[in-house]
Subunit: 391 residues, 2 copies
């Protein structure tokens, strides 16, 4: 186990009707004027935004609004939010939505007190400070409600970049009412399932010795997600299944599953290139990239893949070679992904003729000569994995 | 799953040599003068207190000291610390030790800014504010480094009372170097193992429906503790086993295992009466009380006991009745406790003629007509469980 620091300061306010507390929470966390940030209208149509407005008014917190944040939010939307915040004197960001809306709000929060261009942070400058952010979560997947991360796409360059600054970007509170997820379309629910499993797996596949606690928690969460996913797909308003799944999504990404290990994140980086070039949903892209990455790893560094096959997918390895055990686990993972309606090949994702050279060259241009740590991938390796993703 | 709030704001700074950061951490968390609190000398003899003093001096943080905090710390020691803090103008508590030292420091931290008698808090008054506390942990067991709890014994009344005030009593940081636990005597190591398992079990045994995530994490931690304990008993300086076990102890009690459930805590309450009357070590007392409590529950509310037997102790329930499955799990738990040198009966604990009526009457005097929630225990029930603890 490596030395680590763990801290999960976000106040998770979880359960039925918790969105009615949002005004009091903003006040308790020091906000005096709010920028309400949301997406393309489902939260308006459902009446949620109205309930949030009423809660803010009841707590006598004035607010301004910015809607129309798109999936894979762009720098342009962040500039718009920064201008609006400054013009109106808002001192608290309140995203109502999923990862895209939250990530956009985090970038705005960092940009407002900064003299230069906020994109500096995404180019590697540290983030000295940011406005506080509170969250009303409607899509459990990205884990952004409990993380200090933000992912923004530079529109002009089709360049999707992720930053991590837990000391300033981690939300102060996150309101999580599982009922708000009942109306998610099945495809989006399934994408969320893939994403939360991926967040655990990006940390789980490491070479750090003696990580029993982190391993056992990660495996337990992965098994539980795999058990819960068919339930929410079958019965979208199953409160208990939705609630347990939503909490898994937070624990997948609040740092718990990464303590004391060297994390990988190559699959996320490879997927970001797919999203940026072909505009696919992040979760669906991961459903294609991760099995390919695992197949490659089964041949190049099977240790943890075998453990994952046995402890998550219940593969009985007696009588099987190490490679066979790994491949059987990957096969069950793919069956699971198919069962919730996810693609597992680039073709199934709708990308018939992927430009693998371009994907790989952009990957290394953005991430450097090698990507990931479980096996650091050079350009030849990442090309092989994109090829495996063709099925 | 019930509505809940989860927050784990303590900054856990975990790993080798982390005690050298303590001065910088006090400074980062706003301390300007420290009261260093410790026990009966092992931290002095090991040289740890000297390293902590050097780190404080290097960060130019002045400090005063209070040693000789005993196991099961008393109100008298808390008064001494409050006086010293006020007289010297210390504004930051730095306990170096295990649960007793940390709990004593927390009570001092709450008492210093309070005009009245700090014991008010232990009699049920809320705690409006407290000085900040940072921890250097040397005994992983109590979980106090990540909790907002404190347990103090009123010496004149032999009365041991526990309070919970996460919003003010939770440590700002906890320095956790597993190497500091290498020299723990085997008995104390084993007591710690029992205590951390008990912290999980007090939460795990509940009647809340649909708690899959919390259950799966709790079972995973219990299994892992049971696997690690023999390793640290056999090889006290096995860094990786000590590190994993220490982290389990924190997660057992930082709230993670209690989200969304109605917790029980009857066994802790029953053990506190044993400690107060007979002066036994808390962990050893729990090793006696918990199997008796479980045996009683196997007959009165077996659902979760059966699940625990199957998922923690790997009992194959095919061909067994529910009761047999429960009892087989309890039998394996007792075997495990014996294997690490713990008693499982009052006799083995050295209490040959327990005053069961007195134990039970004091329990209900302190905790009310019923204790616990899994099955609320009345006086006749608690007497039966103390009787079962005789073996």
């Amino acid at each position: 186990m490596e030395n680590f620091i763990f801290q999960s300061p976000t106040q998770f306010v979880f359960g039925r009707a918790t969105e009615e507390q949002v005004g009091a929470l903003v006040k308790a966390h020091g906000g005096t004027k709010v920028l309400l940030v949301y997406g393309q209208g489902s939260v308006v149509r459902s009446g949620l935004i109205d309930r949030v407005r009423r809660s803010l008014s009841k707590a006598e917190i004035p607010f301004v609004e910015m809607g129309q944040v798109m999936p894979n939010p762009t720098d342009e939307k962040v500039y718009e939010g920064i201008d609006l915040c400054r013009r109106e004197g808002a001192d608290f960001l309140l995203p109502v939505g999923g990862g895209s809306v939250i990530d956009c709000a985090k970038a705005i929060a960092a940009g407002v007190p900064y003299d230069g261009d906020f994109w500096d942070f995404f180019e590697g400058k540290t983030i000295p400070t940011a406005l506080p952010v509170g969250v009303v979560l409607t899509i459990p997947a990205a884990g952004s409600e409990g993380s200090g991360n933000s992912v923004i796409t530079k529109a002009a360059l089709q360049k999707k970049i992720s930053i991590r600054a837990p000391h300033v970007l981690r939300p102060r509170f996150a309101v999580m009412n599982p009922e708000l997820t009942f109306t998610l379309p099945p495809y989006q629910t399934a994408c969320g399932v893939v994403d939360m499993m991926a967040h655990i797996q990006e940390r789980y596949f490491n070479n750090t010795p003696a990580t029993q606690v982190t391993d056992c928690l990660s495996e337990a969460l992965l098994r539980t997600i795999a058990e819960l996913a068919p339930k929410v797909m079958a019965v979208p308003d199953d409160y208990d299944a939705r609630a347990n799944l939503e909490w898994c999504g937070t624990l997948a990404h609040n740092g718990l599953c990464g303590v004391g290990v060297a994390e990988d994140w190559a699959s996320h980086a490879m997927e970001h290139e797919l999203s940026a070039l072909y505009g696919v949903a992040h979760g669906a892209g991961l459903a294609v990239v991760f099995p390919a990455w695992l197949t490659w790893m089964a041949h190049h560094n099977p240790r943890k893949v075998k453990q994952w096959a046995e402890n998550v997918w219940h593969v009985d390895s007696s009588g099987l070679t190490e490679l066979e055990t790994c491949l059987e686990g990957i096969s069950r993972y793919k069956d699971f992904l198919h069962s919730i309606g996810m693609p597992t090949t680039l073709g199934e994702l709708g990308i018939e003729n992927p430009d693998i050279s371009l994907l790989s060259s952009r990957l290394h241009e953005h991430k450097g000569p090698t990507v990931g740590t479980y096996v650091p991938l050079g350009p030849a390796d990442s090309r092989e994995i994109y090829q495996l993703a063709q099925g």
